[in-house]
Subunit: 202 residues, 2 copies
């Protein structure tokens, strides 16, 4: 009976992304969880962490949340990352950290972005960045730092993680106003994960 | 004899950072390796990867490098991350990914940044970002996304990783022109690592 119950338990999906910084992170987490349930998964969000931070300094509160998020990733069986660029031409660094963490502990990872183009495309479009070509042919930014030119949607470590897990980063061009809330790409990730992991929709 | 040789072998340090994007990444890697050797460690850099990329598409080359870097991290016993902000108020996303990866496989991680201040300080200083206070007291950016206010030098996942490993992010305010090459903070990380791991300077 125990084995049967185990088999029936939905796989836990860690919901990584800058979603936690939204004005109402709980409603987006709830929307993601409803979609997870429809595909036979259980969504788990860092906003679910119930930690009493009241007696802690700001710094200790931040560190406590960090440890709780790591524990939460370890409690999951897969991760879906919102890789939409955040305050930069690239994904949120906290999300990048969690993606690497999940991959190293052996979780299959999936990713989506709601901004089109390669990292290089976005550098070219971004004000203040003057993409230049070196004598070597390499491209560089205003600080003479190389701009990756691998035809990838973001830094090669992030895209590599998703591709090594067996899928592609799902790209859904989205107007700026709903860039962090459009869940079409997230839903595609759930479909890809369900197919890859053999999970039946409910 | 084998056990003795094992004991004598220097611990391998993965050198994570946007250093790989410098105009001459090999000379900075060499400088870091010399310092590693002086503290009894062996520095290992992603620029050391010898992969024949000539027959590969840009995309496949990027993915091959990603896999090689993950293998390299797994071959190391600790990681020192250059967390200096890169094209954003935060660290490089590839470095953030590698920091999470290393932490999850159990490596002690150390970090330094050559830019002073908390993430919030940098957001306030950055042109185009209008830090606002919500009715709730939370701070938000121009996209209404929360700005973390945890008195930490960067996103709580990154700082949490370093603190959970037993040290602090080493901060060395540095002029913009040598922000990515100043190794004072890197050297302090080596000192902290040597003390924590009981490694003798050579």
């Amino acid at each position: 009976v125990a084995a049967h119950v185990q088999l029936m338990r939905a796989l836990r999906v860690y919901l990584a992304g800058p979603d936690v910084f939204l004005p109402d992170p709980h409603s987006l987490a709830a929307a993601k969880k409803r979609r997870c349930a429809a595909y036979g998964f259980m969504g788990v969000s860092p906003v679910d962490n119930e930690i009493d931070l009241s007696a802690l300094s700001k710094r200790d509160a931040g560190l406590r949340i960090s440890a709780a998020n790591e524990d939460m990733i370890r409690s999951c069986q897969l991760l879906i990352a919102n890789l939409t660029p955040f305050r930069s031409p690239s994904a949120d660094v906290g999300t990048a950290y969690e993606l690497g963490f999940a991959r190293a502990v052996g979780l299959p990872v999936f990713g989506y972005t709601n901004v089109a183009g390669t990292l290089l495309d976005r550098m070219r479009r971004q004000g203040g960045v003057h993409v230049r070509t070196r004598a070597s042919g390499q491209l560089e930014d205003m600080d003479h730092m190389v701009i990756e030119d691998f035809d990838l949607t973001d830094n090669l470590m992030l895209v590599g993680a998703v591709c090594s897990s067996g899928t592609e980063v799902v790209v859904t061009p989205t107007p700026a106003g709903c860039r962090f809330t459009n869940l079409a790409g997230f839903e595609t990730c759930l479909q890809l994960a369900a197919r890859q992991l053999g999970v039946q929709s409910s």
